[in-house]
Symmetry: C2
Subunit: 456 residues, 2 copies
């Protein structure tokens, strides 16, 4: 173990250089313009797995390819399935980046690049720790299977099919994912709960073309007025979602968890500074942490219709579109929520407009039993690398693969995030602390050892 | 008169060729990228005035220049102020045009180009009729003053100042504007009423950057949710504007006018086909013509915020913007309505968002006494050119200069439109019927003669 750690400490610059190569590839899965870069990125991951000592291959899907690699030491050892993704969010709006999103740069001890923390930087820690174990000891304390996909940011449409078709091959005792955040600076964390998500797009079409608002205004339904009425009714002024039945199945937080959340350090001023918001706002009766982690939401993520250029334009527009996501919590059923959302919007659509409702990916929320042996092992690994015991938190984001692992492969997932939620993931100037990258590699190296000792 | 008409009939092709030159200049006043074209277009108008026999000049303003020309025959004759505009609406969305907006083409007897009917084609009829009178008789039956501006589509910001500074120079007995439509095919019309307008833009800013909707969703105000709530509350599901006091000062239509509107031919099927709408929709209790001509409205003309590209993006957006116009009717005060609109929106803005309210141009509605001598003279000119007596209609659009002429110069305006409201003005594939262009020139030639006989 010591030689492995020593080696990792001596290889810090080399690991950074390799990560930069990874980050330079603009692997934007949402936009078909980046298709060749997606392939290039998969090739890079394949190469990194081979270098780490895994037997690896690229597996085509109907969308972007999956990169799969494994190293089976001994059937009697625990098997760990490591999941990550090599695709990234679109970098827009580009003008808000200090340096270009795909030209990584270190400033103030942070690596700035799209994908730095979500998820290239984090997934890379596991490959580097494996490589050190293999190079220095010739073996691993556990069997590992790596599944790195390219469609996480667009809903992992082809992943469940792959999991279902490869149940035997992917058989494992536990999964590990590093795609979450530490609770705060110097507070390593294990995330034992996630929110789920449903995503949809509403399209309203009125007149077949933009009309003069003087000549025709008032006599035909205006699709922007309508979409504003529809979307504006979703959440009331007290932050409460108005879709009938939305809260029916929500499992409320236990008193014990509520108390633990209260004990976590939280500064509203820091939160406002981090988000650049003027005030907190959300569902009445809940704290900010509860609103972020254990309460469901309904957010409009994008809206567009009519004339959006300089100056006024006096039209009744032809079309309007809005993108909507609901974050779900344990108990809520994604299909039921989507159906309720669609009905809510459709019922409010005035005559003369065409209503279209498109759905994207969705998944249930997730909760891991915080008293399991696997969690204890991970906790010990984090303490060894970061120097203090982790706190147990939830996370407001969604990792659909976690519920897929549970439902298809029957395994739970350890969510061990090295990043911070101030890393601007999904925002301009996404970054990853250099220290978090290195400590993540060390924690990963410890993890294989600790997981080997778990009684199954 | 006969030689004038004969000459005009022989010059049809030449007039079309000159109009095409006019239409080829992309004089988009809203977009500063077209600044050189605006200057080029003003030069073209100046040249056309000189050719017609007017003494003309280009007058700079703080925005786009005004082109002014006059021909004073005799102080004892009536003086007619002709107004028009050489600027056009932005041509977006370009992909819906069959042929490019600034490459005029005749198809099915229609001239297709941005500005064909609004207003280059219509204003050109008056220049051509004047030119024929001067060339064939050496004089005009009346004095004329031409005022052709370049800022009609962006609110005529510098026109009122020009009118106020040049009251003596612009002194006239009546104004003539051809920027409206005939009621229908073969139904020449005099428009005796217009709706007014106010225009504004609402900008909401929340977090200083787009945030991850999982990490932060539910804990800060979402500017799109908010703008949807604000804008979606403006008009209820029965088509009634919800701004307090909005209808207080509205002068309801007289029973006589109501009866006249009922007599006008109106086919809902044709209306739906023209607008490409699936159904009529508007304020409960009013006919489609009433909704278009004499009822006030509140339309969102454009909205944008967050991610609007392909696929989903799970963000809480930083900003959202909406453009709003209200069409006003006689009795309503633009300032009062704007103030009420701003209060209505501002009161509904949740904490944590920055609320900005920008206003553009506005003007009162207008009604002309349909029994005046000027209207009778114009009616006779239209009958002579088009072969049937005009109907008396109102129009839903706004021509702010009409109320400026009333308030600053103290004169009423004859609204003599040669176009049709199916000409797709402000829409893709704007066009002007060739026959309307030629009949408009003939009606204009008759008009100078008829106006000369009005008892003042």
């Amino acid at each position: 173990m010591d030689t492995v750690l020593q080696h990792l400490n001596s290889q810090q610059q080399a690991a950074l250089d390799e990560l930069f190569e990874f980050l330079r590839i603009p692997s934007v899965s949402a936009d078909s313009a980046f298709l060749p870069d997606m392939q290039r990125c998969a090739d890079f991951v394949l190469q990194s797995m081979s270098t780490a000592g895994l037997t690896a291959e690229i597996i085509p899907t109907k969308g972007h390819p999956i990169v799969y690699g494994e190293r089976i030491e001994d059937a009697s050892l625990p098997t760990v399935l490591v999941y990550g993704h090599y695709d990234v969010q679109p970098p827009d709006p580009l003008e808000l980046w200090t340096t270009p999103p795909f030209e990584p740069q270190i400033r103030d001890g942070r690596i700035y690049a799209r994908g730095a923390t979500d998820d290239k930087g984090q997934v890379f820690t596991h490959l580097k720790s494996i490589q050190a174990w293999v190079e220095k000891t010739g073996r691993l304390p556990v069997n590992v299977k790596f599944l790195i996909e390219g469609e996480e940011e667009v809903g992992s449409d082809n992943l469940d099919r792959f999991l279902a078709d490869n149940k035997e091959r992917l058989k494992a005792d536990v999964a590990v994912i590093s795609d979450t955040s530490q609770y705060g600076d110097g507070i390593p964390s294990i995330t034992y709960g996630l929110r789920g998500i449903v995503a949809a797009e509403v399209r309203l079409t009125g007149p077949s073309k933009d009309l003069h608002s003087g000549v025709f205004g008032g006599s035909v339904a205006n699709p922007i007025n309508a979409i504003a009425r529809l979307c504006g009714s979703l959440v009331d002024e007290a932050g409460s979602v108005q879709i009938p039945g939305f809260y029916d199945d929500v499992i409320e937080l236990s008193d014990k968890e509520k108390q633990e959340f209260v004990r976590l350090p939280f500064s509203e001023d820091t939160f406002l500074a981090e988000t650049g918001s003027g005030a907190v706002f959300g569902e009445a009766g809940y704290s900010t942490l509860e609103r972020r982690w254990v309460r469901p939401t309904c957010d409009i993520n994008g809206i567009v219709g009519g004339y959006t250029g300089e100056g006024p334009k006096t039209i009744v527009p032809s079309k309007a579109t809005a993108k909507v996501t609901c974050r779900l919590v344990p108990g809520q059923n994604p299909k039921k929520i989507l159906t309720a959302l669609e009905s809510f919007l459709r019922e409010r659509c005035p005559p003369g407009l065409t209503f279209e409702f498109l759905t994207f990916h969705g998944c249930e929320a997730f909760v891991f039993d915080p008293n399991s042996e696997w969690i204890n092992a991970a906790s010990a690994a984090l303490q060894a690398a970061f120097g203090s015991p982790p706190v147990f938190i939830r996370e407001g984001g969604s990792i659909p693969v976690v519920s897929s692992f549970q439902q298809i492969l029957g395994i739970d997932t350890l969510l061990l995030g090295w990043g911070r939620n101030t890393d601007d993931l999904h925002s301009p100037n996404e970054h990853f602390h250099v220290a978090d990258f290195h400590n993540g590699i060390l924690a990963s190296a410890h993890l294989w050892q600790k997981l080997a000792d778990v009684q199954r």
